[in-house]
Symmetry: C2
Subunit: 341 residues, 2 copies
């Protein structure tokens, strides 16, 4: 049904269309790629490709354009991730190394990715729930107000001010602080709330169970709430080939990008950092993003569990091999840097 030449034709169509942004016809196809056959033969092949739904023509007398299904086949079978050049790799590494803290790493990474791919880049902050606690700090603001500061091993810092049911002295707070840190430092954050909640019986929690309860609650809400921070860059890239790339306007796309919840779902269930996820056109399950493709992967953490995700979003007419290479490379470097820092 789909012999080798037909696949080759599909690949050529995708590549030409991506680079020229114009429907590609049989004649120009044989000119640009040296397939050893005549345009008529190509036309027959294109006919079957169209019957099978891999390509389509915008209007009767125009060339062919890949469908979502066509891009899917291209990505799955016909292309390989394009590795970056050594020069690019060096530039990436250098640029990311210059970061001074977590915010800086994330910001640099997202801009880098936008520039490399010339698409919209999205980076999720390292997930709190998947991180481990490095330190918990209790800061006594007044005698009955306490600030709980949480520092994770990825360098992320979150804080929350709470009202206490009763007064506390500085010494009491200090005791509590060291008890907490002894027992939960190094533990995954998801477990922390539970650990604080029922400290081993051997530990003297003296007469302040109220404080324990408060801190435990704070940890729980922190984990729930702030898992969803994402950063964007390169939205201006959407307005480049516009008219042809996005059916109507870029407005629904911009709207989707503002909905961080949508973005997080797009980045997807973060699998392991090895896997690249590609979601094409209507596969996106979000109406505003039909016409767009998302390439994402996990980063950080270990081989089987990523800390968070990052990726790029662009028109379905997109340089998949190149973008996939960039996403993979940036994810690796960011992962390395987090592991070191």
């Amino acid at each position: 049904m789909l012999d080798d030449r037909k696949l080759e034709v599909l690949r050529a169509i995708v590549e030409d269309y991506v680079s020229t942004n114009e429907p590609v016809g049989s004649k120009s196809l044989v000119e640009r790629h040296h397939l050893g056959v005549s345009p008529a033969t190509i036309r027959n092949d294109m006919g079957t490709l169209e019957e099978d739904g891999y390509i389509t023509q915008p209007h009767t007398s125009a060339g062919r354009v890949p469908t979502d299904k066509g891009y899917r086949l291209f990505v799955d079978k016909l292309s390989t991730v394009k590795p970056l050049s050594p020069a690019e790799r060096r530039a990436i590494e250098e640029f990311l190394r210059g970061a001074v803290d977590l915010d800086d790493v994330v910001n640099r990474a997202v801009r880098l990715l936008a520039q490399l791919t010339r698409q919209v880049a999205v980076v999720q902050y390292p997930s709190l729930s998947r991180s481990a606690v490095r330190h918990i700090e209790l800061v006594r603001l007044t005698e009955s107000r306490l600030m709980v500061v949480l520092i994770t091993d990825t360098g992320r810092v979150e804080q929350r001010v709470v009202e206490l049911p009763g007064a506390l002295t500085e010494d009491e707070v200090a005791d509590m602080r060291s008890v907490f840190n002894q027992h939960i430092a190094g533990r995954p954050l998801v477990d922390a709330a539970g650990l604080v909640g029922d400290l081993p019986a051997t530990v003297p929690v003296d007469d302040r169970p109220a404080l324990v309860a408060v801190v435990s609650t704070v940890l729980e809400t922190l984990v729930e709430r702030v898992d969803d921070r994402v950063v964007l860059a390169g939205t201006a890239n959407l307005a480049r080939g516009s008219a042809l790339d996005f059916p109507n306007t870029i407005r629904p796309v911009l709207e989707a990008l503002e909905e961080h919840v949508v973005l997080l779902r797009l980045l997807g269930e973060i699998a392991d950092p090895q896997t690249l996820r590609v979601s094409i056109g209507e596969e996106n399950l979000y109406e505003g993003l039909y016409g767009a493709s998302v390439i994402s992967t996990g980063y950080g953490g270990d081989a089987s569990n990523a800390l968070a995700a990052l990726g790029v979003l662009g028109p379905t007419r997109m340089d998949y091999p190149g973008a996939m290479g960039a996403v993979r490379a940036v994810a690796r470097y960011v992962g390395q840097i987090l592991a070191e820092g």
Copy 2:
């Protein structure tokens, strides 16, 4: 030269053009507004308004459109800030009160502003350098690594990890912490680095001048670096009336919005929170933003010195009175909430 009726005509043109998005002609003008004269008279008035550069016609046989100079006159002399309805005020207050921390306040404020004005909203984080220190926390990560956490009275938290020249015990760190906090809590952050640097001779700094130097440096760099955080919302609003509003595409505008440095300059020298700044079209001094207008004001702080700025950005063809009212109201509420929290 410009008698009352001519000014009235200009106002009518601005209002009609803003609401219809079409060049306005003499006939429709007399129909919609009950000026007591004939179209011919209006035509004469429009003639002089055009000579003086307040309006222009896109092509010979079309209606008139305000120029930047026309909008400027409109904003300065012909319009008054439109106060929000009581219902809107209540909704704003309620929405902002629900915020749990500083990040949340800023995020809610920016979305609110975007929704109220249907334009792009920009909010700057409360400036570090203008804030006062609430607390400094020193966290001992290892014996020679220290995390410095800075908490301001606006609720902002910044942290930095530093390598120390030598080892430190937990007790030494604790001493240092209380010395620092005694002397700089409540002081403006800009002074903090200096205060830490030369603590009064009476204070025992024991044998750790190195630590003092390190912390002093950290404070300095913190102040320098992170003054520039801004948050955006409503970029999708740019893609609404597009074709007519922004000469070419919205791309240069999106590019400008990604350059946070540009944004900060746009928000402008933050004057007192009472003043509304309006920058129209080519007044913006940034080529990508000719065709756009920015309305901004300070918020927080006291009457003469704001903590930071916020505002909206839209096409010059914009509902100035309404947007100005929304910006002023949101700035006030955010200021209130920061003062309380």
